[in-house]
Amino acid sequence: MFVASYAQDQERLSEPDFKKEARARFLHTFAAYPMAVPALILLIVILLSAVFAPALTPYNPFDGVAAERLQSVGTPGHLLGTDEQGRDILTRCLFGGRYSLVMGFLPVAIATVIGSILGIISGYFGKAYAQIVMRTLDVFYAFPSILLAIALSSVLGSGLSSIIIPISVILVPPIARVAEATVQDIMPEDFIEAAQTSGAGALKVIVFFVIPNTFGRIFIYCTTQFSVSILSASGLTFLGLGISAPTPEWGSMLNALRQQIFIKPLLTIVPGLFIFVTALSVNILSDALKDALEATG
């Protein structure tokens, strides 16, 4: 009997085949999505280059020689030219990545947590609680997001938080809605009812049954918000909010260089291209993840 139970334990402990198969299918679909792997590599490169920026360039992002200002892309010594203060643009873009990426990803993380909690609880408990929460969020949703972000940002003054907080605020309503809808989809399922009748408290049911079954879809939706966040955050700094000179950051660099559009057009758009490439890889990745998740059912 001892041997038999040990064998049973072993069977329980080793991974069931279908999980392994699902994971393989996930990865295969992901990799098969056009440009998914290159996008992933590109994103990793961007992230690493922002982190290891000092090691990648001999220049200081704050040092500029005024006499060398506005040199074109491809000038020897300055691969991407110099800005209006004479600072090397490639260097500033690499360092700027730190701010832009943080401002892009952090709000999504914050909004995911807050939005999911609000949405899941609304979806689970429903009725009056859901009404109050969702109606309040609707009020925020009633503003075109960028306007609300601008207004909130100007109220909050300057500093990174005056970008991160408004973007988080505008991302919460859509995430909460998706979370609520997702939860409502699985509420009629048998296993939920079973869990509830088994006497488990609401918290346990949510944590062990609702979240594992909905989080995939919620998470995938949140990844689509990364590019919205990056574009909006850089948009706010482009308008002059949040970041103050001489901090390098893609959006505010674009704003400073904007005056030179008629004199050095190619130079002007360089920071914008960094934003574009980052948003592009993030979008491709989130598409691929969505496909992969659907493939595993």
Partner: protein, 313 residues
């Protein structure tokens, strides 16, 4: 069905009320006192008092709120602090201009996206389909302010074929003058809509094509174009919803494109008025944009309720 419609309308009003409170609160929290932006430094006390009385700054906040709301409902939004014109005039002109921009962007985006999206769904391996993918993913990834600069760089600076700011040539208020000024901003503003719609159309059409009723229709001997009409009709509600929401977003969210192209729209007015502490204008403009947004959402919801019997519970 009437109950559902009434409930939805009631909800919209509730939302609007919340919107007014938030707009008023936001403005109170903004840096800068509106009174300080009007009263000159050398002002005598008499002048200062006259200004306070005229704008009602001496009353407590909740009184100011209700006065403002009451006036707003009657269409009286006061005078702009910057140039003393009626705020209502400023805002309606700006809305008009943004409407032109939003329509221009939407029409281009919708038409292009339907053509490309449908074609891609039918011929997934063709060049046009590949173009569609590029538009799709590119459109939602490129920041519209960056695209504006790129377009200006190509068409205004290098090729000198299109103007880079304003709505009209001096003295020339013809439609063709407007159109030439509209092209670049509409493209820049519409890129994201184009991206979203192309992807949406393609996935919606592709999904609908695979449904069993299509096979049935084909088995019945219906021609391909006729089948395509059926497929499109089925996708239409979803597409309409997304299109409507995108239009609403364009109405309020084109601030950056408007700034770069100096297009005198509502986004630009809001942005400028926030920084010049022209609170009457900011309040009115944000409120009106939110009202429009809520109304568009409401109309779309109502259309959906009427159109889709499943929602009439």
């Amino acid at each position: 069905m009437i109950r559902v419609i009434l409930k939805r309308i009631g909800l919209a009003f509730l939302t609007l009320f919340g919107v007014t409170v938030i707009v008023f609160a936001l403005l109170q929290m903004m840096p800068g006192e509106p009174i300080d932006s009007i009263v000159p430094l050398d002002a005598s006390d008499a002048l200062r008092q006259a200004i306070i009385e005229k704008y009602g700054f001496d009353k407590p906040l909740y009184v100011q709120y209700f006065c403002w709301l009451g006036n707003a409902l009657r269409g009286n939004f006061g005078n702009s602090v910057s140039d003393n014109r009626l705020v209502l005039t400023i805002v309606s002109e700006a809305l008009h201009n943004t409407l032109i921009l939003a329509l221009g962007a939407s029409i281009v985006a919708f038409l292009l996206s339907i053509v490309i999206g449908v074609y891609s769904a039918y011929r997934p391996k063709s060049i046009l389909s590949w173009v569609g993918t590029i538009f799709g993913i590119g459109g939602i990834s490129i920041p519209n302010y960056c695209l504006s600069l790129i377009l200006i760089g190509i068409f205004s600076v290098t090729l000198h074929v299109l103007p880079s700011n304003g709505m009209y040539f001096s003295g020339d208020y013809s439609f063709s003058s407007l159109l030439r000024h509209l092209i670049l901003p509409a493209l820049a503003a519409g890129a994201m809509t184009l991206g979203i719609m192309t992807r949406m159309v393609r996935s919606s059409v592709a999904e609908t094509r695979n449904r069993s009723f299509v096979t049935t229709l084909r088995a019945k001997g219906l021609s391909e174009p006729a089948i395509m009409r059926h497929v499109l009709r089925n996708s239409f509600p979803t597409l309409l919803t997304v299109a409507g929401l995108q239009f609403g977003y364009l109405m309020g969210g084109s601030t950056m494109v408007e700034t770069i192209f100096s297009w005198p729209g509502i986004g630009l007015i809001i942005y400028q008025s926030i920084f010049t502490s022209d609170f009457p204008t900011t309040q009115a403009a944000i409120l009106i944009v939110a009202v429009i947004f809520v109304s568009i959402n409401l109309i779309i919801d109502l259309l959906r309720i009427v159109a889709d019997p499943r929602l009439r519970k």
